[in-house]
Symmetry: C5
Subunit: 302 residues, 5 copies
């Protein structure tokens, strides 16, 4: 489905949603777009790239899909492809599903068509790329928040196997956004500038992207550090648990053994007939407890 968003003498923006192969072919013939570019448009899994084909700037970007299901965990579930063809005369955007930020953009530009050409293409492109960048802001901020919640969980000693698994999944999603953002950074670097793109407007885009890269780097790094910290703390707790077990065992094993001795039924066991035998055994219990206590102290168990 093709729609002309804006059009004046010099320039037009055409937005194409979910085209059939024939529609794309026609578009290609009309605007002299190379066959391989048309094929890239049809591959929903294509990674971001920038390419110059005979004067036409062909860009593929992937935008975070706000409707991605909770369980999405790969590039193709989390993000949506937009193919962009850009020349002096036209801007064509091709995508499979409606994207809310593109809808808003179309609406905005359908109403204001009177601006001078040269600014027009820059402004539209800037808005478009900004929308792509901005789409990653929400999931990154959400991720950062989740991470802080995990950190609190770990610090309160309440982390569970589930929270470790969630942390791992979060790290994975973040790693995917990281790759998408760095691929997008490559595109911005390679992007030709026949339209004054090196102006402050594009500089602004770059900074916004860098800022997100900084955030995503930090989040991935923090996730790794948290996983390590958690492992480290688990190790600590195991150690502590072992210590308690050992202390109890070291105290009670000898005592229980002594009690076992005097529970034997031999006919001739002199101690059993001593009047204060029982109390002597109690004395030995107390004595052993004392000795063991000192020994544990000296060996750093207590």
């Amino acid at each position: 489905m093709r729609r002309v968003v804006l059009k004046n003498n010099d320039f037009q923006w055409i937005d194409v949603v979910s085209p059939t192969y024939e529609e794309l072919e026609n578009l290609g013939h009309e605007f002299s777009i190379h066959q391989t570019a048309i094929q890239d448009c049809l591959q929903p899994e294509h990674l971001p790239k920038q390419e110059d084909i005979k004067g036409v700037n062909f860009i593929i970007v992937r935008v975070f899909d706000e409707n991605a299901p909770e369980t999405a965990n790969n590039v193709h579930q989390l993000t949506r492809k937009i193919a962009i063809f850009l020349s002096k005369d036209f801007l064509i955007t091709v995508h499979r599903v409606d994207l809310s930020f593109l809808d808003e953009l179309r609406e905005k530009w359908e109403q204001s068509q009177s601006i001078h050409f040269n600014e027009l293409v820059v402004l539209v492109l800037r808005d478009l790329l900004k929308g792509v960048i901005k789409s990653y802001e929400a999931p990154l901020v959400t991720g950062q928040g989740e991470l802080e919640r995990f950190e609190a969980t770990i610090f309160e000693g309440k982390s569970t196997i589930d929270s470790v698994q969630n942390l791992y999944l979060l790290r994975r999603k973040m790693s995917i956004y990281q790759r998408m953002l760095y691929l997008f950074q490559d595109i911005l670097i390679k992007l030709d500038s026949p339209f004054e793109l090196h102006s402050p407007l594009l500089q602004d885009l770059r900074e916004e992207l860098e800022s997100l890269c900084f955030l995503v780097d930090h989040t991935v790094e923090s996730a790794d550090n948290l996983l390590t910290l958690n492992l480290s703390l688990a190790s600590y707790k195991t150690n502590e648990t072992m210590r308690v077990l050992t202390i109890f065992s070291v105290f009670f094993m000898p005592l229980t053994f002594i009690a076992g001795i005097y529970g034997m039924n031999f006919d001739y066991m002199p101690e059993l007939h001593w009047h204060y035998g029982y109390f002597a055994v109690w004395g030995s219990f107390v004595g052993f407890v004392g000795l063991i206590y000192i020994w544990l102290r000296r060996n750093g168990f207590l």
Copy 2:
């Protein structure tokens, strides 16, 4: 065994399968190919490379062998070598065994020999290199699938020593594909372009390769992360197991000791003759259980 796949006035493609040393020597003399290149052809373990010898482009590529046995785990079991000699006048491909993708290619081109020279060589070469790249797609997708199954296994807490070992072997295979793909990327970068190779057709090859590199990087990284996660979860489980053991020990050791005391056979043990002695001991059991419960609670064991 030499076979001329296509031939016109300007250009011919010769496919050589499992040649003897003499056949290769003859070929070398006929097409003025340097001695060292001939020797590289005979080494089945040669790594991918690109070299310019007196106007002849000499390329070695390694293609994934779809007939590799399940247990294959090194470069030479998993991949097959193809030596390629390319000049303005000829394309020669040398390999030891028949490869299905080459068979298909030969068939395709044997039938259509009427295209203009300049496009011909580019199209044939493109098809050839594309076949090499495509050959890695299947094992990578399989690997990705296996990885996702491991992830599910680990998340369900059902990972075993076997699954860890399989994950390790998978990582190893992926690491080998990774090396092959990156060596191939080097070749594409170095490839001379006397035949308009920097056209969209080659660009397309590069993107396909980059996309596989992206996939293989991601798979290796994910395998490493899964191995770490698994270790981390094992550590958690050990901790949990220890905790259960410790709790049981801490409860039963003192109680069993008390029972042991009153199982002793001393002649004179006043408590034994108290009418409610037995019930008093039961009381002490209950009391100790209570105290231990509180202590465990306070120390975070329960």
Copy 3:
């Protein structure tokens, strides 16, 4: 709130604290500052950057906030933004809160306005950037000190879960200073030098910054090494604890079992009626202790 710190025929320094949007807009019109720069001024979370906009050097730096709360642990709690506009004719500094080092700087320069232009701008800028760099000195030295305290704790075997968590938090803060310092290093490299900035004065700044980078790198590295060491030592202690537990168990389990045997109440147990049965059992206790001792020795447990 705008204040002119110094002003002569050629040059003025204007310091703007906590401006409203209107004040900034006016400033922008007056000094021909681009709209996007004005907007960056208003974003309190903006990362350090350097940019050339139509002859105006626009720099954003982040200075360590000495009033940051103890619990601060992200870029925006730990540091404060200063936006700097620098041209041949003016230096404008914009920030949200009063910063003590800027107050001192203003005081210093308000009094001494008679220096020749060319040196003036360099000296003021040098002082300003030096203040930014110096602000990180205190937290880094504090961090280094804390780290040494952790090291002592770990070496004395007194590390606790709390100390590991504090070490992690310290590492995180250090990692943030590290990023800020390296971003600042980028700025110093890109900084244009229409004012003889490549003089020894700026060289001095670079060295001070490099020295802090060296310190922060070392601190982060040391923190990582300490966390690893600590984990390693915890592992050692677990091992030692296990060994003690095992030794006790291996000694007492067989003995307690023997005592249990002769505590059974069978009518016919010949050993019970042997005159020296009890002493024979004691002999077996001693014998088993000896055998177990030898066995433990040989297996490296003792």
Copy 4:
């Protein structure tokens, strides 16, 4: 001991074995070799390097010593130094001990002295450098084989402390070969080409070296991965062992406690006099076993 291997009007190869300081000094004067180069010749521990001194190419290489003892584990025990002086007129090789590959080379070239100069120097140098590279092939292939044996050991669950230590030593040796090969790669890159060295002959050397680098990288990486895998599996086994211990303890501790209760000797213990008391206790044993079984099941221990 100096020996002229081959000599014609234009060129000579002199091989010097285990020279005294005086012999080296004389050689230096005769061929105008700089003093520092002479001193490097005398240092048996010198690392590989390439240097141009007034038209003389001075190369130091280290060749794997096939007579290195089994326990050798540093650069100087595993490898031997060869100093090479190369100019248009002469090739001088200096080494401390006889090396079998050099002996063979000398023999080969002593017999065939009639080749044209220009090819001569290239062919001799190529043979020499090829010998150096080839010397590492045997230990790398041996190492690869050992590694595969370790892998099998680990996969069969038969790894011991000894095998881990051997793996570590293997990794160390491989790491040394890796450094030597990469230093040699630097030399090949820097090597001047007054003798058509960039011909296919040298290209061949480079590929052989690259192939060994590939192999050694892979071996070191695999050793690291195996050590990690082994640690991971050890962790698994510990976990499994703990689980078994815990299951036994959880079953027998309560049962043994109950038996202990009715082993007490109180005068008044009503249950002891019940006719079916004993069978009731057996019933409680069975009941507890059932309850514990269910509990262990639910908690994932069984």
Copy 5:
């Protein structure tokens, strides 16, 4: 305290030990040294650097302090600063304490003042820088030796918490030498060559430095590998200890339970009155031992 070491018409070397601020200021005026360089001289903690100030080469190096206390573990305790000013006319060295290698150098050069200028400055500078490099040889060789002792300790299974801590401290010192040596390498690269410094003499310095870098890299890497190996072996030993504990527990828990059953005092326990009851129990003991043995075997515990 200033001392002229050598002086002829063209050149002089002045060595300044522990100067006051006034002495340095005077020196600065006399030789036109920039203010910031003078201030760097006074900072005892300054890191190595090289800088060109108006024709004067200003170099700061840090030399290993052979008198550093055993417990020294940071840059400033382990190394001493030397500031060097070098121009066509003079060499000035500034340091706080007497350094033995500088004493020797001064003595050597005070006696031989008749050499031609151009060589003189190169030779003196070479000697000076060589002294700095050589100073690190002793601690590196010591460190390497200590490391080998640790390795032996770990391989004999005698590593203790103390040896791990010492290994950590050794690694830290090595890491500091590593940084100093790499910073020195930067200086050598940047060092201007108005005095034929790129001659074989300087090349020699570079190699010596590279060789130490190689050694220190190897030592740090080995220390890391040893720490990992040690952790790995500790993990192994824990596993082994656990296995022993589990085997004993699995054997004795059921047996002790059975003994406990027949130690109960129920009035009616038919087995107790069987004539061969006691022997039957012994039979059950033997039977259980057999069954458990088989079970442990099958599960890989024995």
